[in-house]
């Protein structure tokens, strides 16, 4: 009896945790299952908690209401372009802050840090203004280009540089005759791979899930990204919810898969800076 009493805290803790797990996981299971049913089945009583047979029908319906593969490709290309360019340009700028002392450096760095604290509420209108003024409304370019050299990424990479690159190494490269860019490319870049990976993860996730940007920039349906396309079919008359659920599920699959394999890195990357600070 006493051992049972002693175990109650453990059991109840596990019960609580499992309950939390169910609440957390349920929507994912739900969307996966409902992607295989028709709309009427989804809203039937009781709802079907088994794999249905409308998968194919939903798939066709999905392609009906939106150019799904085009949209998926849009999301993918924007995310990849944005991630690759961010990794390159953020590390380039980070190197400038890391390896050089110059007049005004602290001011610029301070502005950069301060800009990280400006709420997006304030920056979307300026962003829109510039995009319109530059004539790049309704382009993918406007979605991945402006965020290329962003304060967060520069800060992250520079932080990593200070802990893993010694000044002697840069001096040795100078003595060996490297130009400044060569030092960055051949000596520093190979040594900051972990920081680059972290940055890539954060950028990709942010770009893939981005909604507000596409919402205010894109107007042609064939240019839409997944988030925007899915939301745009929400209010159709008789929205085919089975198809929409399927589309929603498919849009989450890449990140979920990546998470299954790289959960540790993704968690670390997304909470970087938070945990340290």
């Amino acid at each position: 009896m006493s051992t049972l009493r002693a175990k109650i805290p453990t059991y109840s803790m596990h019960a609580m945790l499992i309950f939390g797990l169910i609440v957390t996981v349920f929507p994912f299971v739900w969307v996966a299952l409902m992607g295989t049913h028709s709309r009427s089945e989804i809203y039937s009583v009781p709802p079907p908690f088994y794999v249905g047979d409308d998968l194919l029908a939903n798939y066709e319906k999905l392609l009906d209401i939106m150019p799904f593969w085009q949209v998926l490709w849009n999301s993918l290309s924007i995310s990849i372009l944005g991630t690759v360019s961010a990794v390159f340009f953020c590390s380039l700028c980070a190197y400038g802050f890391f390896a050089y002392d110059f007049r005004g450096k602290n001011i610029v760095f301070g502005i950069m840090v301060a800009s990280m604290m400006v709420p997006p509420v304030l920056t979307i209108i300026p962003f829109f203004l510039t995009v319109k003024f530059l004539g790049i409304l309704d382009t993918h370019f406007a979605l991945w280009f402006p965020g290329m050299a962003n304060a967060f990424g520069i800060f992250l990479v520079r932080q990593y540089m200070t802990t893993s690159i010694s000044r002697d190494l840069i001096d040795a490269a100078k003595v060996d005759g490297c130009s400044p860019f060569r030092i960055y490319w051949s000596v520093v870049l190979p040594l900051i791979k972990p920081a680059l990976a972290t940055l890539a993860i954060v950028m990709f996730i942010g770009l893939w899930n981005n909604f507000l940007g596409p919402l205010i920039v894109l107007s042609s349906p064939d240019k839409f990204v997944l988030t925007l396309a899915l939301r745009s079919v929400q209010s159709l008359a008789n929205s085919p919810w089975g198809a929409i659920m399927l589309g929603t599920f498919l849009s989450m699959v890449p990140l979920l898969l990546a998470f299954a394999f790289f959960s540790k890195q993704m968690i670390a990357g997304l909470t970087a800076g938070a945990v340290k600070g």
Partner: protein, 336 residues
């Protein structure tokens, strides 16, 4: 390899005229600026300069679909309109309400759960739970909101069905039978329930993130501290309250700050959960950012939107400053 056989020049006698010398110095000074130029250019073009422009814009009337030349100076009219628009105040109220109701529970849940995970589980099991609770954070808010949109559905949505099933279970029925009468619960289309429904989705999405932060915080408390407390006769609860909790103050400060700033700008959840219908019934689901979007991009009054964005910014700045004022000192220094 050595001396005489090689045609090895020792020092290249490069003649440096004063002009080329100055050029060299100039390039040396320019190099760091070249490295950070991508950031500077993008910052000026997409943030700094347009920020000033948006101040200017807030005093103009401008339909964004028309050309840039159609701006019309209207002085403080935009600010007046904003302040006299009942939707503006509604959205501020909703925003604050949501910020608190969706923010506080996240931390109230995350802290004890993080503590339990750190104390009670080995790192393998801990990572399993933590990772699973973290998944909502990495998925798109739009996708998640769409899913909850169907779950919350009024007539035969799954949530209502589960509640009905639960209320009709044998013993439970005695206590919760009234649920049947409340059906169909219109989670997203009744003014009282929209906000809590939105709040739940936000809590669902972000608690895992805070869980990770607090876990990291609790992990910094060494075992020795707990052992010392046990020797002093502390019960588990006292250990939690008096030892672990104070140690995570810096983490809590950071997490709460992020929650506040984030929750004051909720947009995607209310937008999708009200299906883009201007904040749902009675604008109960209208948040400040949502209102901003409406004004600028649906009502096409960009000037007004600019004015609103500045008002909101000041609002957020004030709230954050108050938060820093009351909690900042302890939060930033911790008490080690």
């Amino acid at each position: 390899m050595h001396p005489s056989e090689e045609t090895q020049t020792t020092t290249p006698t490069v003649l440096h005229s004063p002009a080329s010398r100055r050029r060299r110095q100039w390039i040396k000074k320019l190099t760091p600026w070249l490295f950070i130029s991508p950031y500077l250019i993008l910052f000026v073009v997409f943030t700094a300069f347009p920020l000033g422009w948006s101040v200017y814009l807030s005093f103009q009337e401008w339909n964004p679909v028309a050309g840039l030349s159609s701006m019309e100076y209207v002085g403080l009219k935009n600010y007046e309109l904003a302040v006299t628009d009942p939707w503006f105040w509604k959205s501020l109220y909703n925003t604050v309400w949501l910020a608190i109701v969706s923010g506080v529970p996240q931390h109230l849940i995350a802290i004890p759960v993080a503590y339990l995970l750190v104390i009670g589980l080995k790192s393998g099991a801990r990572h399993f739970y933590t990772a699973t609770f973290f998944v909502p954070y990495i998925t798109s808010t739009v996708a998640v909101s769409l899913i909850f949109y169907t779950i919350y559905s009024g007539n035969t949505g799954i949530l209502n069905q589960v509640l009905v099933w639960f209320a009709n279970l044998p013993v439970i029925n005695y206590f919760f039978g009234w649920i049947n009468d409340a059906m169909p619960i219109r989670w997203l289309s009744s003014t009282d329930l929209i906000k809590p429904s939105i709040a739940f989705v936000v809590i669902w999405k972000y608690t895992g993130f805070n869980l990770v932060i607090y876990s990291a915080g609790f992990l910094t408390v060494s075992k020795d501290m707990y052992d010392a407390a046990k020797v002093d006769g502390c019960t588990p609860w006292q250990q939690f309250w008096h030892i672990a909790l104070p140690m995570i103050r810096p983490f809590a400060f950071f997490a709460v700050t992020m929650s506040i700033i984030g929750n004051l700008q909720l947009f995607e959840e209310p937008f999708v959960l009200t299906a883009g219908q201007s904040g749902g019934v009675g604008q109960s689901g209208l948040t400040a950012s949502y209102y901003l979007y409406l004004v600028g991009w649906e009502w096409l009054e960009m000037g007004a939107a600019a004015a609103i964005s500045w008002v909101l910014f000041i609002f957020i700045a004030i709230v954050t400053s108050v938060h820093f004022y009351f909690n900042g000192r302890k939060g930033l220094e911790g008490d080690r």
